[in-house]
């Protein structure tokens, strides 16, 4: 089974969504034990925290 070798530091400047788009396009999710959030975090890209909607 193919094993993901990690993201390059060159991608550090990308947004979470840009990196996710790249990951989906390349199909890395098919790699053994691949966890996008965990791999992205290794180069400092964290999942954005969604803001709660303010109630009226």
């Amino acid at each position: 089974m193919a094993k993901f070798g990690g993201w390059s530091d060159v991608y550090k400047h990308l947004s979470y969504d840009q990196l996710k788009e790249l990951s989906d396009k390349k199909g890395y999710d098919k790699c053994e034990g691949y966890d996008f959030d965990k791999e992205a975090k290794k180069i400092g890209i964290k999942k954005p925290i969604k803001k709660k909607k303010e109630s009226d």
Partner: protein, 298 residues
């Protein structure tokens, strides 16, 4: 600087020592020099040059021939003889190489210019001293490796011959010899990274955006466990933000996605990049492959 500066062939004992035959050669980056005699003899500096900056390449010499021309001797009308030139030294040598090493050498030593230092059998280190810049450095030379192609019946190391054409006669007049406290073997030999072979098993296309490669320990077993950080781009056709993403497909096979630009896109037709495996512990290169040139096809 040297006890032997003056002509004292029958004098001080130090000046009677003859140089032993060359045993090892350091092929250095043309810009490599040593600012002090301590640096010239520093083991740490040499090891760092071999396995970190990769500005020095150690070669064991198996056999060599001095191919320097004899000087032209002219006879004047009064029958006095004169030497009309100072032939610049040259040599050929054969090195201790595996077949795979020699294949890499053929691709690397293609007539480019380097600086060459020698280690003799007695452990002496021979180079030159540049009085203008006050630095120690190897002798400037162009080196080309040529193969006879067909396996040689005897002396297999003679299949590949290196032709060394030195550039300046004066550098040899200003030769400098010193004896390091360490030996080339084992200290420097052990510092040389383990060689890997990397060959492409597919072509990179602009549509696909990736190439598959096979990595082996020289001509031996598959080399497994490489990750993205172990692949480096050495040169490119002026591309920016080159990024690899590596997938280990097992048994020494890897898929290497290669992108360029700040917003990553596949390389385009006409782009080229030269890649290499450099597996490091901290900054020390433990394993290194040959260079793989990737030219992007339609």
């Amino acid at each position: 600087m040297s006890l032997c500066n003056s002509v004292l062939p029958a004098g001080a004992v130090e000046c009677q020592k003859r140089l032993a035959k060359a045993k090892y050669m350091l092929i250095n980056d043309v810009n490599l020099s040593y600012g002090t005699e301590a640096d010239f003899l520093s083991l740490a500096e040499h090891i760092s040059n071999i396995n970190e900056s990769r500005t020095s390449h150690l070669v064991e010499i198996i056999g060599y021939e001095n191919t320097t021309d004899d000087p032209n001797i002219i006879t004047l009308p009064n029958t006095e003889k004169q030497i009309s030139n100072e032939p610049i030294p040259s040599m050929t040598f054969n090195a201790s190489l595996s077949f795979c090493d020699s294949q890499q050498l053929l691709k690397t030593l293609n007539g480019s210019t380097y600086r060459v230092e020698f280690f003799t059998e007695d452990g002496e280190k021979l180079a030159t001293f540049d009085e203008g810049d006050q630095v120690f450095k190897g002798f400037k030379a162009s080196i080309k490796a040529l193969t006879k192609g067909i396996p040689v019946e005897a002396d297999p190391e003679k299949m590949v011959t290196m032709y060394v054409f030195f550039k300046q006669y004066e550098e040899f007049v200003n030769s400098f010899v010193a004896v390091p406290e360490w030996g080339v073997y084992p200290e420097l030999v052990n510092a040389v990274p383990v060689g890997l072979n990397m060959r492409a098993t597919s072509k990179y296309t602009s549509a696909g955006g990736s190439i598959t490669v096979k990595v082996t320990e020289r001509c031996g077993d598959a080399f497994t466990g490489l990750a993205t950080a172990d692949f480096v781009a050495l040169r490119s056709s002026d591309l920016s933000d080159i990024a690899f993403t590596v997938v280990d497909d097992g048994n020494g096979a890897y898929t290497v996605d290669i992108n360029k630009d700040a917003v990553p896109v596949n390389l385009e037709v006409g782009d080229s990049v030269v890649i290499q495996v450099q597996k490091k512990t901290s900054s020390v290169i433990d394993y290194i492959s040959g260079e793989l040139v990737i030219n992007v096809l339609a």
